[in-house]
């Protein structure tokens, strides 16, 4: 089981859209996928038409009073399940703080699902917190959406340095450009140059398109409702790079 987390300290950079599309594409390739919507806003749950509610709230899950298995819901797509968000997730830091080894708690909660899923996608809330630290410790691969600006690149370096300081398990990092507007000179230059210079930046770049915003109207991944569009193509390319980086076996033809 490989754990892939979409993470960025900033909000509104395309984490949820990426998690939803990556989860969908992985399932379409035949992997058994679980997407955990860790964001109390519950956008991923909404996109899959699943009520953002977990019996007992986040506390019951973190403290082990309710197993993750119990709270999982099937999406409308074969092979893709979702662990819904819950508004109480906003307090997960407090709950984690009172748990033993809070930074490793998420990994230990996911361990029993090892035989059931090939891929777990974590859709994280935008923050630096105990929860995000626990996500970074659990993940095998961090997918980091970046707006193509110089500041974003600096943020990526900070994240890399932070993760590099972990003892033992360190997740691999794959950043990718999101909300790309090729009409902007700076965007075009950064997107052209950076992937060639840095191994941790994907060649796939997700364009800023209203089609991606349409996901909340269609309530489905763009790769499902508009598979022939540029946005869907870029998500497929991003998934391919993520799959290779996470060392997942190639899907059966």
């Amino acid at each position: 089981m490989k754990i892939i987390a979409t993470y960025n300290i900033k909000g509104g950079v395309g984490k949820t859209a990426t998690a939803v599309n990556i989860g969908y594409l992985a399932a379409r390739d035949g992997y058994r996928v679980l997407l955990w919507d860790l964001d109390p806003q519950g956008a991923a749950s909404f996109l899959f038409r699943i009520k953002p509610r977990v019996k007992g709230g986040g506390k019951a899950l973190i403290r082990g009073r309710r197993t993750l298995d119990d709270a999982i819901k099937g999406t409308d797509f074969d092979g893709l399940d979702l662990l819904p968000a819950d508004f109480t997730y906003r307090n997960l830091d407090l709950v984690l703080d009172s748990a033993k080894q809070p930074a490793k708690r998420l990994a230990s909660l996911l361990a029993p699902l090892r035989s059931e899923y090939d891929v777990v996608v974590l859709d994280c809330p935008p923050s630096i917190s105990l929860l995000s630290e626990s996500v970074l410790h659990a993940a095998d691969l961090l997918l980091v959406p970046l707006i193509p600006t110089t500041l974003s690149v600096r943020t990526l370096d900070q994240l890399t340095e932070f993760v590099g300081g972990f003892n033992g398990h360190q997740p691999d990092i794959l950043a990718f450009f999101s909300m790309l507007d090729r009409r902007k000179k700076l965007h075009a230059e950064i997107v052209r140059d950076l992937p060639a210079q840095r191994r941790d930046v994907a060649t796939a770049a997700i364009p800023a398109l209203s089609l991606i915003e349409q996901m909340s109207v269609q309530r489905a991944p763009v790769a499902a409702f508009a598979p022939r569009t540029a946005a869907a193509r870029q998500y497929r390319e991003l998934w391919r790079e993520a799959r290779e980086r996470a060392c997942l076996p190639a899907p059966q033809a």
């Binding site: 899959f48 038409r49 009520k51 999982i72 819901k73 099937g74 409308d76 399940d81 309530r219 033809a253």
Partner: protein
């Protein structure tokens, strides 16, 4: 079947699947909707099992499903849950029958091989499915359950139409809501809860039933007061059924067990004629005994070579002094000899003599007029007691100095006793019978090991001579064969050393009491 999954059958009264949907829509609670789950898919379906239904008896179903150019083998358990699958490469085809060992290596083969053993998998039913899917939606337009409407047309073993089958599969986490949908479907007129598995339903539509193996003589239900001649005629008819059922598989050389089972039926028939023939009309046993002896002899060479070839991998693996590759000319010789023996067997089984034997024997059995006495219980008691006495007497005379032939003779008497106990088994208390057979089997295993190794040693000598004559035996092959013969001699000596103990157990008071008790339960 997954958690909460439900099966239904649409009878004619329910009409077409779309009408059911309309009815459901009309009857739905306001929060429930339905959506079409895509185009109707056509699937070719083929169910596979061994001739003796090993998968079915183990609660397993193997299905080959072809959709477009994709073919997949799916093994499911009793609850419908998938045990293992094997997707064939695009456009790939498997020919049937075939042994599980001949399937692509993987979890499916690993799950099948221990169950099917030496028996080949062959088609037991074929059908074409037209599968439509409907999605049950909640008020968020979220799918909470999928309803598959499956219209199946059976094409084998006979052409037949089947009532449509509905399968309702809850989406994970929505079992409670899906249960409501299931209840609504179950309440519709003309909808019945589906109890049979799809394979059972397919076979029922074609007029069959899974698990039926023709001609199991030990399964014939006898009542103690039944006239012995009538009981014998029924048993012998069942054995003839078994022979005839195994002839096509033997002629097609599907697997080695068709010939084995054919031989078992012949052996039982010969023993019944020899031991109980005097209860049949005068002259019948003596008239047919030579014919069945001919049939038995006809099958022996091929079976002996089958046994060698089946044991070959273990034989090659057991070599210590020689290399396994050095034995290959021996395997080739066995294969050639088997092909020649098999040709003779096929000629015999296709001969007018065999056809006459079958026809005349069946007519003769149908013609048996049964006097009221003796009853089958009287016959069974007398024969079992006499056969048991003979085993005790013959075994008691065997000493360390006795020649191998005396053990061979004892083995034959033990087989006869076993056949009698099993043939008349339904007259006896099952627990007593099981115990008696178990004790007898322990002795038989020892005697079998002794004799089989003796025969195989002799055969290896004969094969070596033939191979020398045909100039197909390199020196290293002969040496490897010598090592195998030496190993057989050791095994034989071990079996011989175990004989005294095994026989003492069998001849002990507890075992004698068991046989006496068998006789009492038959007479009761």
């Amino acid at each position: 079947m997954g958690p909460g999954q439900r099966e239904f059958v649409l009878t004619d009264a329910a009409g077409a699947g779309s009408e059911v949907l309309q009815a459901l829509t009309a009857a739905r609670d306001e929060s429930l909707g339905w959506a079409n789950g895509g185009a109707v898919r056509s699937r070719r379906r083929l169910w596979l099992d061994t001739f003796d239904w090993r998968l079915y008896r183990a609660g397993l179903t193997l299905e080959q499903v072809t959709t477009g150019s994709h073919t997949e083998l799916v093994l499911t358990g009793r609850d419908g849950a998938v045990v293992a699958t094997e997707r064939l490469p695009a456009g790939g085809k498997l020919s049937w029958p075939r042994l599980a060992a001949g399937l692509p290596a993987g979890p499916l083969q690993a799950a099948l091989e221990p169950v099917t053993g030496l028996r080949a998998l062959a088609p037991v039913a074929r059908a074409v499915s037209k599968l439509a899917e409907l999605h049950a939606l909640n008020d968020d337009a979220k799918t909470i359950a999928r309803l598959a409407v499956d219209r199946v047309s059976v094409t084998y073993p006979a052409r037949a139409a089947m009532p449509a089958r509905l399968t309702l599969v809850p989406v994970r986490g929505y079992q409670a809501q899906a249960e409501k949908v299931g209840r609504a479907i179950g309440d519709l007129p003309g909808v019945l809860g589906g109890r049979d598995s799809i394979l059972e339903a397919v076979l029922a539509a074609a007029g069959g039933r899974p698990g039926e193996v023709p001609g199991k003589a030990s399964g014939i239900q006898l009542s103690p007061g039944m006239p012995a001649a009538r009981a014998l005629s029924q048993l012998l008819s069942a054995l003839l059924d078994a022979m005839e059922a195994n002839v096509p598989g033997t002629l097609k050389d599907i697997d080695t067990e068709f010939l084995h089972d054919l031989r078992v039926a012949v052996r039982w028939t010969r023993s019944a004629l020899k031991l109980c023939g005097n209860a049949l009309p005068r002259g019948l046993a003596s008239q047919y005994a030579p014919e069945f002896r001919w049939l038995g002899d006809l099958t022996t060479p091929t079976r002996d070579l089958d046994v060698f070839l089946l044991g070959y991998p273990a034989m090659a693996a057991s070599l210590v002094g020689a290399d396994a590759d050095e034995l290959i000319p021996f395997r080739d010789h066995l294969t050639r000899s088997r092909a020649a023996a098999y040709r003779r067997l096929v000629t015999g089984l296709r001969s007018a003599r065999f056809a006459r034997l079958r026809t005349n024997w069946r007519a003769a059995l149908a013609d048996v007029r049964a006097p009221r006495r003796p009853s089958v219980a009287q016959l069974a008691d007398a024969k079992i007691i006499a056969a048991h006495r003979k085993v005790l007497m013959m075994g008691g005379r065997i000493t360390p100095a006795s020649p191998p032939e005396s053990l061979h003779e004892l083995r034959k008497r033990c087989k006869e006793l076993r056949y009698l106990v099993e043939m008349f088994g339904t007259l006896h208390d099952p627990a007593q019978r099981w115990q008696a057979v178990r004790e007898l089997k322990t002795l038989q295993d020892c005697l079998g090991e002794f004799q089989d190794t003796e025969v195989q040693r002799m055969e290896i000598r004969a094969f070596a001579a033939q191979m020398m004559e045909q100039r197909t035996a390199p020196a290293e092959t002969l040496l490897a064969m010598g090592e195998i013969a030496a190993r057989l001699a050791v095994t034989q000596a071990t079996a011989r050393a175990q004989f005294d103990g095994r026989f003492a157990d069998f001849a002990g008071p507890a075992s004698r009491r068991r046989i006496a008790a068998l006789a009492r339960t038959a007479a009761a």
